[in-house]
């Protein structure tokens, strides 16, 4: 008996140390590896860690994440190429977020409270899927820097008017579709019918979805819409005769193509004008160019300072040049009757009501806006049992459902449950981004005093005479000022610290092309001298930056200028800028167009040279890491470049 017990005890003494070694934790190994790498590479910036469990805990958010026990390198710099799990966190997220408080699981999901690898990573969000957590803390109406796919999804959600039929809390949008009031006087009936049948076939950049209408139904809706006449437009006198050749010149000079595509080529802000002649008539076109907001109060088209004769020229040119004669033949051969009788119109009204056209378009016909789609506020964590998969064979997940539903809206329809959602023309990656956005709509909201309440800058509205001009020329369609507007053109928030007053005034009077490769160029608005002066004064007075002081004591000497000229050649600036007859086409030229000495302020050039990305995020110009002296020399040289001296 005693022998047995001794044997048992000895056995235990042998087995237990083995078990001990076996259960020594992974994180110890990773932490050792991390210290080893630091030692090998002699990275001074990083301190070796003390071996032990590590935790990020913050009581107010109920955070207790042990993730950094293994992922010791996440916050370390220069560990980007270390193997996982000690690699540093990619991107700027940890710089922008207070990681010591919010921890890992608020964004990444998974289980922070465990040290076992499998358990911790269960249900974790990876790579771009992490973006579905952004709206847990940030407001849904906001574009978030860094969340590329989410932002794109949100832009699609707004553009495609999803909120017309689906309610989403915190993302309430106005109806953005064009107003249909008076459409009978504006659009041709045949066009309307073909358009309703398949919008993207008629116009390459159509936003309107396909409602699966057949010939008869589309014809009925067209007949119904044709009954809405604009009495005022009908009463307008016929516009004077224009000269199409001159109209073409005006059109090109005004750079309409910056916003409008013509048969798929050109900008993307306005509708495609490639088949304008088939779509509308001279009278409407004349009235539209004269006052773009007469028919649609929310139109983003600027009002050009054209004379009546010029407008007539442009209208005639557009009608003559952009008529698709194949389409005219199709329209002529179309045997379907016009169908003006009351039964057809009544049928059209019924279909119009059923399709909820009114959810995107304004039309004063007594039918009210009513969201018929399901609420999407919490689709990201809606129980799977509430999704109707129909007879489809796709994997049973929310992501797969949403993706399939957008790609093929009638995929889950059964005989008992017909579905009404229209078909949007989207690429797979568009649908993917939209799916990502929808998955981020969930109820896992976090509210804490930790998060700054961002002011809603999208409401910025300049006042007075300048405000009126901004409204007339629709500056926010392209430019961004103080957080409002589109970032198609230069952000004007600190323009007053950048350019000289004289240059700005001259540029407004004659808006020449600033760079050879620029695609969306500023239209020629024909500003009057008074308008140009008002805009210049407002920009120079109000849109300045505190850290770029106005008119500094300019330091310049002949030696400095020579040194600057030498540096411009040595540093390879000419790879992108043209000097004389040599150089690249990427950046503004030093020889033609707007010259630095005429256009820019010395202090701004200096700041720009020191760190271009600080002023314009993601600009192509690299940060050369110039010394103060070098930057001063180049500034001094660039300020000598002006038109007076070149001549």
């Amino acid at each position: 008996m005693r022998t047995y017990r001794n044997c048992f005890n000895s056995l235990l003494l042998i087995v237990i140390p083995i078990l001990f070694v076996g259960c020594s934790q992974d994180w110890q190994g990773y932490q050792n590896e991390y210290n080893q790498i630091i030692e090998e590479k002699a990275l001074d910036e990083n301190q070796p860690v003390k071996i032990g469990k590590k935790v990020i805990s913050y009581e107010k958010l109920q955070v207790a994440d042990y993730c950094i026990s293994c992922h010791v390198g996440v916050t370390a710099i220069k560990m980007a190429d270390a193997p996982q799990p000690i690699q540093s966190h990619p991107g700027e997220f940890l710089i922008k977020h207070d990681w010591q408080k919010i921890g890992c699981t608020i964004c990444h999901g998974g289980n922070g409270g465990t040290l076992s690898k499998e358990d911790a990573h269960e249900g974790m969000l990876k790579a771009e899927m992490v973006q579905t957590s952004c709206y847990r803390c940030h407001p849904r109406s906001r574009q978030l820097p860094g969340a590329r796919q989410l932002n794109h999804g949100q832009k699609l959600f707004t553009d495609l008017q999803c909120s017309g039929c689906h309610f989403v809390e915190g993302l309430v949008l106005p109806r953005l579709g064009p107003s249909l009031n008076g459409i009978g006087s504006r659009i041709e009936r045949k066009w309307l019918r073909y358009w309703l049948k398949n919008p993207s076939e008629m116009m390459p950049n159509a936003k309107m979805p396909d409602f699966y209408l057949n010939d008869d139904n589309a014809g009925a809706v067209a007949a119904y819409l044709k009954t809405f006449k604009d009495q005022q437009l009908e009463g307008d006198p016929e516009p004077r005769k224009g000269d199409p050749a001159e109209g073409g010149n005006i059109l090109r000079r005004a750079r309409c193509i910056s916003c409008h595509p013509f048969n798929g080529r050109g900008g993307f802000l306005g509708p495609d004008l490639g088949r304008l002649g088939n779509k509308t008539n001279r009278k409407f076109l004349f009235a539209k160019i004269k006052d773009p907001r007469r028919f649609e109060p929310n139109s983003t088209m600027p009002q050009f300072n054209f004379s009546d004769q010029q407008i007539a020229d442009v209208a005639d040119y557009l009608i003559d040049e952009y008529t698709d004669y194949d389409l005219v033949d199709i329209f002529n051969e179309d045997s379907l009757k016009a169908g003006n009788d009351s039964t057809t119109i009544e049928k059209g009204r019924k279909i119009y009501k059923e399709l909820r056209c009114v959810n995107c378009h304004i039309l004063d016909n007594g039918i009210e806006w009513m969201r018929i789609g399901p609420k999407l506020s919490d689709i990201g964590d809606k129980p799977l049992s509430e999704f109707d998969f129909g007879h489809s064979q796709i994997p049973g997940t929310r992501g797969a459902y949403i993706f399939e539903k957008i790609k093929n809206p009638r995929a889950f329809a059964t005989a008992d449950h017909p579905q009404k959602m229209p078909l949007f023309k989207l690429t797979n990656s568009d649908i993917y981004d939209l799916t990502l956005l929808l998955l981020s709509f969930n109820q896992k909201k976090i509210s804490s005093p930790l998060f700054m309440a961002f002011p809603d800058t999208s409401l910025y509205r300049p006042q007075g005479e300048f405000g009126r001009l901004v409204e007339k020329f629709q500056c926010f369609s392209c430019h961004r000022i103080n957080g409002r507007g589109f970032n198609l053109a230069y952000d004007l928030s600190i323009e007053g610290s950048r350019v000289s007053r004289q240059w700005l005034y001259d540029y407004l009077m004659v808006s020449y092309s600033l760079r050879p490769i620029l695609v969306e160029r500023m239209p020629i608005f024909n500003f009057t001298p008074q308008e140009a002066k008002t805009i210049t004064d407002h920009i120079m007075a109000n849109y300045t930056s505190g850290w770029i002081p106005r008119h500094p004591g300019e330091e310049s000497s002949p030696q400095l200028i020579v040194q600057g000229k030498q540096l411009v050649k040595e540093k390879g600036c000419l790879a992108c800028h043209i000097l004389g007859d040599k150089g690249g086409y990427v950046a503004p030229s030093f020889t033609t167009g707007a010259l630095a000495g005429d256009k820019l302020q010395a202090e701004w050039i200096y700041r720009w040279l020191k760190d271009p990305q600080k002023i314009v995020h993601g600009v192509l110009e690299p940060n050369y890491g110039l010394s103060d002296r070098e930057a001063l020399a180049i500034t001094a040289y660039l300020m000598t470049l002006n038109h007076k001296d070149w001549r």
Partner: protein, 162 residues
């Protein structure tokens, strides 16, 4: 039965060790209990991207390489070309003005001899750092470390295999 002091000691030792072992494994056991209810659905959902065409799949790139592609297309493609063949639109201006061409990563003779460390040095320090012209600017102060790493990861996809 007589109980010797040694056997008592042994038993205590054994008991203590057994206790420690249990403690040791405790973390994972309790962790498992917590998440037992939290759905395998969620895990599937995380990876739904792999089942459908996502942007990475369309380009046959890994996630790293896709991030690198975004940086490459923005900063590098103007000269080196979208396909890495040194035919960006600005390359013709460089040819006309200075008689040089951007490096062609698709070149089957020169490119495979390139060392990754050399590419890294050229990106960080510009052309001068690897004994070439100054017209390749240094990006070491513009791009962060991790950006340069994913960028090189993408550039590698241009280089023909030997």
């Amino acid at each position: 039965m007589r109980i010797s002091s040694k056997s008592i000691l042994d038993s205590i030792l054994a008991f203590g060790l057994a206790f420690i072992i249990l403690q040791c494994g405790g973390n994972s056991v309790s962790g498992k209990k917590e998440i037992a209810g939290s759905s395998a659905v969620q895990t599937k959902e995380v990876f739904f991207a792999d089942m459908y065409n996502n942007p990475y799949r369309e380009a046959h790139l890994s996630r790293h390489q896709y991030r690198g592609k975004l940086i490459y297309d923005h900063y590098c493609a103007v000269c080196h070309g979208e396909n890495g063949d040194g035919n960006g639109f600005n390359s013709f201006n460089l040819q006309d003005s200075f008689g040089i061409r951007p490096f062609n990563f698709a070149d089957s003779t020169a490119a495979p001899l390139l060392k990754l460390a050399e590419i890294k040095r050229a990106i960080e320090g510009g052309g001068r750092a690897v004994g070439k012209s100054q017209y390749m600017p240094p990006w070491g102060k513009t791009l962060r470390d991790d950006e340069i790493i994913v960028l090189i990861d993408y550039i590698r996809t241009f280089i023909p295999m030997l």
